[in-house]
Subunit: 207 residues, 2 copies
Amino acid sequence: MGRRSDHSRTELFELILAEGHRQMAEVGFSRFSAREVAKKIGYSIGTLYNVFGSLDRLLAAINTRTFGLWARHLEARLEGEQGDRIAALVDGYFSFARDNPHLWMAIYDHRLPPGMVLTDDEHDRRSVLTEIVAREVAAALPEPARAEAPRLARSLVATVHGHCTFALNGAFELMGEAAPQDLALARVRESLAAADQAVVATALKKV
Amino acid sequence: MGRRSDHSRTELFELILAEGHRQMAEVGFSRFSAREVAKKIGYSIGTLYNVFGSLDRLLAAINTRTFGLWARHLEARLEGEQGDRIAALVDGYFSFARDNPHLWMAIYDHRLPPGMVLTDDEHDRRSVLTEIVAREVAAALPEPARAEAPRLARSLVATVHGHCTFALNGAFELMGEAAPQDLALARVRESLAAADQAVVATALKKV
DNA sequence: TTAAAATAATGGACGCTGTTCATTTTATTG
DNA sequence: CAATAAAATGAACAGCGTCCATTATTTTAA
């Protein structure tokens, strides 16, 4: 088994991924170039394809990495937060997107070509984020409503995502909205309060 | 003033825009090609640039047109709806996106290059959609809360947008969610109910 | 030690993209 | 019937993703 380079296959994978991630953060999805990545790490474009197979697989790997950073960012933001963990969650969501706009947008800019699927490993690593939210939503809910937590969590992620999208793409600014994150948090609180209310109402009916 | 073609400048503008819109609907943002548009209408690529100046301006015009269709779709969906106009609104939002996924996604896929701004006319035509929502939200709110209608409307659009995005890009499916539109409607209802509650609470305090 | 096999890396070729602009074609005007 | 002004062209350029025959290198087997 011959090899020529200073880098093992695994090292090369990491080298490309790291540089790709760096460039995605810098220039964004629409200006991302696999050739440029190859140039920067001193390998030919062919090597990139030997290692990743296709541009789509490299992009998917870059986005999976972003998901990982995002999840860690959330956990860090939550750590030690004794008071308002829901507000911390929303803030963690927004602040990551604000601090890494290109990386964050690339997650939604890249769409897998028909037929291509993520590996189980990638899928698992991406779902951590949702799991964090589901955990916190469950904790914020009264015991009898906990069964609904995963579904409500999905919905609240979508809610915050919508607000975050409009905040970053300028839509809110165009509409004259100055505090998108406050709006998002207000919506989330309302939904959690509604879940509370529903539990109270059910309890009263039983009496 | 010499001219060579069968089409006036205005006709040509419309011809390109119509074919561009048709192709966007067919192949989507990532596979859209100005050259292909030119070929289809039997003009050279140069003519396209003479008329629109840049690809970005053509894309902006295509998306503005989509906004118009979307607003008309909403109004049609609302017309004659006596009962649940909020549900009709959410359904109109979702159904347009479902029926025209490429056109709908292109609105958010295309980002104006730094420095480029929409014309006032384009801006006006795009804002009709939000105005419809603001109108309906105002109508659904009790009189004392109407002042908050525009801001709440923006927020509810973002909420529904987030759910619609995840519905179309497969994120909800991946999370095991089968009824995204129901989730969106539930969130919207909760926010409207919360606004109701707030009014009642304020009234009670006064007594 | 040397030849064969296996792997790694290359980069030219292909067909596509957006963009520019000197050139050509045409219609209108004087 | 020129002269002029506008319209339309398409070659040229630089870039892109993708493919894959070729080359370089290392390992293995004889």
